[in-house]
């Protein structure tokens, strides 16, 4: 218990820093640290699957995205700094936020006893999915429609980002071209770590059926490794009008949807799996979905096209 209290205090301290820091880059660095500590909290909350997601997305990829944005926005930082609120408004905001926090705290303290839970239902039906990890079972079987919609949401966000491209770069290459550094150090780091990272990503994806892990966590690592290779100048981002790229992006949701619709014919419902083939079908969905999510996440970080598609 002493450990948990200490951890909670450190987490809150870093959160306060993220809000209070004067420099944006420092605040972003604080946010990365916050994500890392949150991964520890998730382990303490008996949710290793969420801890993996938080470490990969919340801390890793979001950190990379925000660090890049913070450095690019550094030039405009002074121009936006003049519009601070007056002390009265700040106090009013503080009072409002304390009220909200107190309200939530009251709800936490007044949660019903015994706690309602769906764990027994999940446990009872776990065998029918052929999976050993209850969280993956929820994501891929009981609440598969959420997961399908989530994959579509990712794709929509990417379409939104691409639509921000200027006319001359329409369908072109996202981000600036990174060249290998003169002494080859960064390229060397990338050549060393990217293959290991790809292995780790596949491992995390693969163990997801029986142990903590799964397609989102695995895909995030794959995406991070691709961004790594781009940053080191080993690869260039592909032009977004390439057909293979578009195919890679939609293959996951398409297979997901197709198997979901096939559920009407073979098991009497959308996204229903016939019992004997449940695990095979879930894996058939997971492989293309992992590839699509990895590509989508990587391109979300790469941002809108900035260079024209031809030259």
């Amino acid at each position: 218990m002493a450990f948990d209290t200490g951890l909670a205090v450190v987490v809150l301290g870093v959160a306060v820093w993220t809000i209070a820091a004067r420099k944006t880059v420092a605040a972003v660095a604080g946010f990365v640290a916050f994500g890392l500590l949150l991964a520890l909290v998730w382990v303490r909350l008996a949710a290793p699957d969420v801890a993996l997601t938080e470490a990969a997305i919340g801390s890793g990829v979001t950190g990379g995205l925000l660090l890049g944005a913070a450095t690019r926005l550094r030039r405009i930082e002074p121009s936006a700094a003049g519009e601070t609120l007056g002390i009265g408004l700040k106090l009013a905001a503080a009072v409002l936020c304390i009220l909200v926090a107190t309200g939530i705290a009251a709800i936490v303290l007044l949660l019903p006893e015994p706690a309602p839970t769906l764990a027994p239902q999940v446990a009872k039906n776990l065998d029918r999915t052929g999976l050993g990890n209850p969280v993956t079972a929820v994501l891929m079987a009981y609440r598969a429609i959420d997961t399908l919609l989530e994959v579509v949401v990712l794709l929509l966000a990417l379409v939104g980002i691409w639509s921000l491209a200027p006319d001359r770069a329409w369908g072109g290459f996202p981000g600036a071209r990174h060249h290998a550094d003169s002494d080859g150090l960064l390229a060397f780091v990338a050549q060393l770590l990217v293959p290991i990272g790809i292995l780790v990503g596949i491992h995390i994806f693969w163990v997801g059926s029986t142990a903590p892990g799964g397609e989102f966590q695995g895909a995030t690592i794959l995406a991070a490794m691709w961004i790594f290779a781009v940053m080191a100048g080993l690869l260039d981002t592909p032009a977004v009008n390439r057909r293979w790229l578009r195919l890679l992006l939609v293959i996951g949701p398409a297979v997901f949807l197709a198997i979901g619709l096939a559920g009407f014919a073979v098991a009497g419902g959308f996204l229903a799996y016939p019992e004997a083939y449940a695990k095979v079908m879930i894996l058939t969905i997971e492989v293309p979905v992992t590839l699509s999510i990895a590509a989508t996440l990587a391109l979300l970080v790469a941002g809108p096209p900035e260079r024209p598609p031809n030259g």
């Binding site: 150090l185 780091v189 770590l193 290991i196």
Partner: protein
């Protein structure tokens, strides 16, 4: 037997924690970035290494033990190379006097 193993674990983990302490103190107290980098490398390699060593005595089996060693090797590789990158950002602003 398990008492001996527990003792070895405690010893190694304590030593590892000590190196984390040393690394942090170095990071906070050393005057210039390059010596801070030096302190950091100790925490990276020895701190984590000793913690992993301590946990090896408790490992459930060979695969679990190999995984622990894998985590350490990965950190060693990443640490050694990323440290070079960090040192490179220091060089232009702080020429060696």
């Amino acid at each position: 037997m398990s008492l001996v193993l527990d003792g070895l674990s405690i010893l190694a983990v304590c030593a590892g924690a000590f190196f984390f302490l040393a690394g942090t103190v170095g990071l906070l107290r050393f005057p210039d970035p390059l010596s801070r980098l030096h302190a950091l490398a100790k925490a990276d390699n020895l701190g984590l290494g000793l913690v992993v060593l301590g946990l090896l005595f408790q490992a459930a089996g060979l695969p679990a033990a190999l995984k622990l060693i894998g985590v350490w090797l990965l950190t060693l590789l990443a640490g050694a190379t990323v440290t070079q990158l960090i040192a490179r950002t220091v060089r232009p602003t702080e020429p060696q006097a």
